[in-house]
Symmetry: C2
Subunit: 242 residues, 2 copies
DNA sequence: GCATATTTGTCCGTATGTATA
DNA sequence: CTATACATACGGACAAATATG
């Protein structure tokens, strides 16, 4: 019944929001609100809903064929993850990070990623996930596929944090890195921000392979500091020139 | 408040759950769902709703005089914080931590709290919050007020993590420590778990006052390891004997 | 500054499915 | 196995806040 009026919140692009129906392949039984949240999260992190855009209850619920009540439950979840911002009586918006947010995100990353390396035990580490992320990143760079490169880079850092073997830490990193993507969508110059770090990813991994966790940690700290500075500067500039 | 048709929806008696109405002290404009979440969170962490208890949509929405839709939004928030567990088609329950959860929580604490100390700059630290927490804990112990002592102890560790000066880290610790309270409510022998740590809190603080962050970090690591072991053992026993 | 349209906030009623006694 | 209770999800309603002309 819901009238899917074309051209809702977003001016252009693919109008296809759906593919909600049969997720029966997944073992995890979850309600519709959570499935809606998954779809929206994907759309946000992929840039389909750019930062600052308003997510109208009516159009989204229409496009996804769910009731407004259910949609609002999904909104709550994503607001809690800081991907959406809930302004009372005005609706939900894709968050626009402030520079302070960037700084805090990098502070968390420095804390968590370095701590994960420091907490490593004896030299034969399980680096399969780290290795995989690094090589997919390198291959994506060869293809000039900077979107994939960005994803691989993020996965590299998730893998590093994953060495702590802690589900809660994993979730923290997932959320924080998803937030970080919001900043990249404001700037959209992926190559500049990811290419220089490919070799450093490789170097860090090599250190770990050799069992030199302390060295890897030191390099990682410099890496994050450089990345933070470069990103924060470019981001601040981009924000003010709007 | 909107939609107040035909008077109060529930003229009937609400138990002692309420006090929803006047939150006017807070500057933060928030919707009912968030206020409901605050009330429920308090009730859970204070033990009014013990772990394992089911939170019926009907009775809670009746007691708080909010609609079931609004209540469900609040449930989503608390589920996301791992205080509630959402079992599909069965409702929401106050979470019962598994031993694995305890271990992971302590892993996160070790990671974050130690990293916060390690990241400290030059010796004159701002320890007002830490100091305050320690002394309130000591005074509570003198009064045999172990509930207050538990709270102060938690606040002590929040203050330690707060030295990292990172909002996201603060939130992480808030959530993780709120979760940890669930374990204490299963056992309810607060004295045994908090008294031995009062002096160690004091010692750690003293180290920090002297500017010896590395020493404090070492002590903290032992502290957490001891605490984790003692708690996990007692908790496992308590769980199996039920 | 005002009148109006749009959108959110909140509530109600209800049909359907699922788990449990 | 049937019955009951409850969560799930939808749609409609209206007040209040906000945006718009």
């Amino acid at each position: 019944m819901a009238g899917t009026t074309a051209g809702g919140t977003n001016g252009g692009g693919a109008p296809d929001l759906s593919e909600l129906a049969t997720h029966s392949a997944s073992l995890k039984r979850s309600g519709t609100a959570e499935r809606v949240a998954v779809v929206l999260r994907d759309r946000i992190t992929e840039g389909y809903f750019p930062p600052g855009s308003r997510l109208s209850e009516e159009s989204i619920s229409g496009a996804l064929a769910v009731s407004r009540n259910t949609l609002r439950e999904a909104f709550r979840l994503l607001s809690h993850e800081r991907l959406l911002e809930h302004r009372l009586n005005r609706g939900v918006f894709v968050r626009i990070l402030a520079v302070d947010d960037l700084i805090d995100i990098y502070r968390v990353r420095l804390l968590v990623e370095c701590a994960a390396l420091r907490a490593l035990g004896e030299p034969p580490f399980d680096l399969t996930a780290v290795e995989a992320a690094v090589s997919t990143g390198e291959q994506a760079a060869l293809r000039d596929d900077w979107a994939a490169c960005s994803t691989a880079n993020i996965r590299f850092h998730q893998a590093l944090a994953g060495l702590a073997d802690s589900p809660r830490t994993d979730e923290l990193m997932r959320n924080v890195l998803a937030e970080l993507r919001l900043a990249f969508h404001v700037m959209a110059d992926p190559r500049r921000f990811h290419e220089p770090y490919l070799t450093r990813n490789r170097e860090i991994t090599d250190r770990l392979t050799k069992g030199d966790a302390a060295g890897a940690e030191r390099m990682l700290a410099f890496y994050l500091e450089d990345s933070r500075r470069q990103l924060a500067e470019a981001y601040a500039q981009r924000l003010t020139e709007r």
